[in-house]
Every structure is written in structure tokens, then in C-alpha cells.
């Protein structure tokens, strides 16, 4: 293993833990995009540019946006209930 791989592996391992342990969904969404980038880095050092590119567009854009949409909806409904 080359040093870059070790770093990417360490980041991914910590990232997964952080995502799971974040109990607040907004914080979790943020951590999840960071985790997505660490996966991209990992796939790059695994010599998988195709996968890294997909992971980048999915983890960096598509998934977080859908997630934020869902969270915003929940927040809005909660707010309306509170009023």
C-alpha cells in the first residue's frame, strides 16, 4: 500500500463512524458529503477514475441535495405544527 492509500483509508474509516454517530440529521448530511469526498479520494488511489467520477457526482451533488430537500420539508412541517 502506498501512503496515499493509507491516508484515504484512515479518512474513510473515521468518516463512516462520524456519519453514523451524528444524531442530528443536518450535521449528518454535512458529514455525509465529507465522507463522500473521502470515498472519491479512496477510489482515485484505487485507480478507479470512473467510479470516482460517479461517486463525486452522486456523493458531492445528487445525494446531499435530495437529502437537504427531505430535511427542509420535515423542518417546515415541524415548524407549521409548532405554530
Amino acid at each position: 500500500m502506498i501512503p496515499l492509500q493509507v491516508v484515504a483509508i484512515a479518512f474513510t474509516a473515521l468518516g463512516a463512524l462520524a456519519v453514523v454517530l451524528a444524531r442530528d440529521i443536518v450535521r449528518q448530511a454535512i458529514l455525509f458529503s465529507i465522507y463522500g469526498f473521502s470515498l472519491v479520494a479512496l477510489f482515485l488511489v484505487f485507480q478507479a477514475p470512473d467510479v470516482a467520477l460517479s461517486s463525486l457526482v452522486v456523493g458531492g451533488a445528487a445525494y446531499p441535495l435530495v437529502l437537504v430537500g427531505a430535511i427542509a420539508r420535515v423542518r417546515a412541517m415541524q415548524k407549521r405544527d409548532a405554530e
Partner: protein, 246 residues
């Protein structure tokens, strides 16, 4: 089960599952010594057999193209179902939605970024057979281009550019042409999804025969599918804004 009991049960079982997985994984070759032969055969064959520079794309759209049809259908089903569910109880009209005020600079930047992403997406789809990329990656980038309009310009512009009557058929046409290409190959006496088109010169945009065609088909399907999903969740997001503005 109480929470403690559940977590306890899980932790003990996870220890067992982890041990089982490790026991299995130590039987693998050591990391970095992939033994083949499937991948090596493909790597050595894509160029002579299909005039394709990207072996991954060749696998996705030719050698294992049937898997990709299934994959596009999974996205198709998911997008359709998401739209069905989220529309069911939506009780307001798009015209009620009020966009937040954004500075002109933001809007100009957003429009520029959208155009750049759009061109980039087309590029990624087109070059799938040559460089990393292909239908799926390009399709998501294309959908993201539209979404940039929503994020940085305004929701109504996004809604006009990618309304449901556009994105839903776009997706169906994409998946449909993938599936129908297979039937065409069948009709002219080949096997389903057989690469019956001329392979062209290696290194050109039109080389690799049906790989390019299927890459475009899946690009359309993925772009449409993600636009449907984005559109629905963006509208959920805007529903929040709509309520607050009232």
C-alpha cells in the same frame, strides 16, 4: 425490545458477523494482487474487439450491457415511485412558490455554472468510450446543471427548464431506447444487445459501435431520472418556503 437489549444483541452479533467476514476475507489474495482472469481478459480484448479505449465503459455497455439495462430500470422505477409518492398529498400550486431574493451576481454566476456543467455533462457522456465517464456520470452532471439553476438562479426558471412533462419522458425515452436497441439487434438476427454497429476507428467519438449509442441512451435516462427525483425533492424544499411566505 428495550434499546439496551437491542444494542446489546446487535453488538454481540456484530462481533460474530465481523469474525465471519474476516474469516472469509483472509482467504482472498493479498491486497494489490488481483489474480484475474476475467478482468485481464477484458482489458486485453476491448481494444482489438471493440475499438474502445475505456475498458470499464466497454464492460458496462457491451460485455455486461444487460446488467446496465437492469440498473437503468432500477433508477426508472425509483424515480417514478418517488414522484408518485411525493405528489400524492401536495396541496399547493407551483405558482404559489416564492423564490428567495438573490443578488444579480449570484444569478449570473449560477447561470454560467449551469452552462459550464451542461457542456461538461455532454462531454462526459460523449467521451465515455475514450476517457473515464460515460452515460451515468454524464447524466448526473447534466441533471446537476439544471439543478444549479434552481440553487443559484431561481426555482421558477428551474421549473420551466425541466418540468415534469420534460424530464419524465426524457427518462422513459432513454431507458426505452436502451431496451429497444437490444430488440433491434435481435430483429436483425443478432443476440439481444449485441454490438452490431460498425466499430469505427479507435480513439474517435463514434468508435466502439453500440457502446456510444447505449452510453447516450443511458445518459438521457439518468439525466431524466435524476431530474425527476431532484424536481420532486426541490419542490418539497420549496414547499417549506411557500408555507413560510404565507
Amino acid at each position: 425490545m428495550s434499546r439496551q437489549l437491542r444494542t446489546g444483541l446487535f453488538l454481540v452479533s456484530a462481533l460474530g458477523l465481523g469474525a465471519l467476514l474476516v474469516w472469509g476475507l483472509v482467504g482472498l489474495h493479498s491486497f494489490g494482487n488481483y489474480p484475474g482472469p476475467y478482468g485481464d481478459l477484458i482489458s486485453s480484448l476491448t481494444k482489438p474487439q471493440r475499438h474502445t479505449a475505456n475498458a470499464v465503459t466497454a464492460v458496462v455497455f457491451d460485455y455486461r450491457g444487460f446488467d446496465t439495462l437492469g440498473e437503468e430500470l432500477i433508477l426508472f422505477v425509483s424515480a417514478g415511485a418517488t414522484a408518485m409518492l411525493l405528489r400524492e398529498t401536495r396541496e399547493y400550486d407551483v405558482s404559489d412558490i416564492v423564490d428567495p431574493v438573490r443578488s444579480d451576481a449570484t444569478r449570473a454566476f449560477g447561470a454560467l455554472a449551469a452552462i459550464v456543467l451542461f457542456v461538461l455533462g455532454l462531454n462526459v457522456v460523449a467521451h465515455g468510450a475514450l476517457t473515464p465517464g460515460g452515460g451515468f456520470q454524464g447524466g448526473v452532471v447534466l441533471a446537476a446543471a439544471f439543478l444549479t439553476v434552481f440553487l443559484a438562479v431561481e426555482y421558477h426558471a428551474f421549473h420551466r427548464l425541466a418540468p415534469a412533462w420534460f424530464s419524465e419522458p426524457l427518462e422513459s425515452v432513454g431507458v426505452g431506447s436502451y431496451l429497444v436497441y437490444g430488440l433491434v439487434a435481435l430483429a436483425i438476427g443478432g443476440s439481444y444487445l449485441e454490438n452490431v454497429l460498425p466499430y469505427g476507428t479507435w480513439g474517435r467519438l463514434t468508435s466502439s459501435g453500440s457502446i456510444v449509442l447505449l452510453s447516450w441512451a443511458s445518459g438521457l435516462a439518468v439525466c431524466g431520472g435524476f431530474l425527476v427525483i431532484f424536481g420532486e425533492f426541490a419542490q418539497e424544499n420549496m414547499a417549506a418556503r411557500h408555507r413560510r411566505s404565507k
